[in-house]
């Protein structure tokens, strides 16, 4: 990913690395991708690269790419789009992708004593099974820093011969990955777009993190934000974003489709969601990270489903992010 980000980068261009979840990825937008619009908006003085992956938190692989390049490219900035208060620690692998240790053993990271100290501290405090899992992960990434088996076999699988059986590729699983189309649903016309939505699954997707960051009032049973969780989130944000790069980091939260919100969520739940967004903004601002909350004024046509943006929504997001990037130091 590091070499991908710096490929064809001119010395006078500013690098903009995009990370986060499927909203950042632009799922469903096809060639009408929001980051293409962002690139056009920012012009040739910038190079925008979208490294987001579905379901990922704000600080994962693409953020580690940014950290790896932050010293060599002092004008580079990072834009992370994701859910509210979605905690992640950099070295914890998401779905098996050990980005931190991979970069660490390959010598790609600058000196980050604060992050390393917090990793060591948590390692000491963790249980035996967690330690064993971390040790195994470290051993695997250490070996890869010598033998580079991931790079080699991923290239082989991508270009010539895919050797891993998966359900979607079961019929012709040996075909190289480059020959498969990415799974990107085409948008329905606006008139029928939200008619067939499964409100239960939209509800579950939007309220996915409620269990982590909210509690119920013992008297009136209303949902409320957990103060303990907010402190934990703030601590996590502080320890994972080094102070010297905070002015070059922008976190973005895109509010869900108002039509789907009103149909799938109760008033209490919508209130909690908005409260969590405000708390999210406050935490990032408090530690000196730029933050943006968009979508309050977006229309149904700006969405493809409950949360993913359409071409028009993507254009609005690109406008907002471009203005904010111009402000970054």
């Amino acid at each position: 990913m590091v070499s991908l980000a710096t490929q064809n980068l001119n010395s006078d261009q500013k690098l903009v690395i995009i990370g986060g979840d499927s909203v950042a990825l632009g799922r469903g937008q096809g060639p009408d991708l929001w980051t293409e619009k962002l690139q056009r908006k920012l012009g040739p003085a910038f190079k925008v690269i979208n490294l987001a992956q579905t379901g990922m938190p704000v600080l994962t692989g693409p953020f580690i790419v940014f950290l790896a390049l932050s010293e060599k490219y002092p004008t580079a900035c990072y834009v992370g789009i994701g859910a509210d208060l979605y905690v992640n620690d950099l070295e914890i692998p998401f779905h098996g992708y050990p980005h931190w240790w991979d970069a660490y053993y390959k010598g790609l990271l600058p000196n980050l004593p604060q992050i390393e100290a917090s990793i060591n501290q948590r390692f000491q405090e963790s249980g035996i099974s967690q330690r064993e899992a971390t040790d195994e992960l470290k051993l695997g990434t250490f070996l890869d820093s010598i033998f580079y088996f991931r790079d080699l076999w991923t290239t082989v699988g991508y270009k010539w011969l895919f050797t891993v059986w998966t359900p979607p590729t079961s019929a012709t699983f040996l075909k190289p990955r480059i020959q498969y189309q990415d799974i990107d649903p085409k948008p329905y016309p606006l008139e029928t777009r939200f008619a067939g939505l499964n409100l239960r699954s939209e509800h579950d997707l939007i309220t996915n993190f409620f269990g982590a960051y909210s509690t119920r009032n013992s008297i009136n049973h209303k949902l409320k934000l957990s103060r303990r969780f907010l402190l934990f989130f703030e601590e996590s944000a502080r320890r994972n974003v080094p102070e010297n790069v905070r002015s070059r980091v922008l976190t973005v939260r895109v509010r869900e489709n108002p039509v789907v919100l009103n149909r799938a969520l109760s008033k209490d739940e919508i209130h909690l969601l908005d409260e969590a967004s405000q708390a999210n903004i406050q935490v990032w601002k408090k530690i000196g990270v730029h933050t943006l909350y968009v979508g309050k004024d977006y229309q149904a046509a700006d969405y493809l489903d409950g949360c993913h943006l359409s071409g028009t929504g993507g254009a609005k997001l690109a406008d907002a992010v471009a203005s904010e990037i111009m402000e970054l130091k």
Binding site: S22, R27, F147, F149, V164
Partner: protein, 42 residues
């Protein structure tokens, strides 16, 4: 070096390469997550 020795040397080299590649590939397979995330449907 006799012809037999040359053939033995070549066969050892080829076999060594095959075993080396196999173990290299094995390391890659061990490092893969149970379900490659790019195929997860959201």
């Amino acid at each position: 070096m006799t012809r037999e020795q040359t053939i033995n040397g070549l066969m050892s080299l080829v076999l060594g390469l095959v075993i080396g590649i196999f173990f290299h590939y094995l390391l890659y397979r061990f490092s893969l997550p149970k379900e490659p995330f790019i195929y997860a449907n959201f």
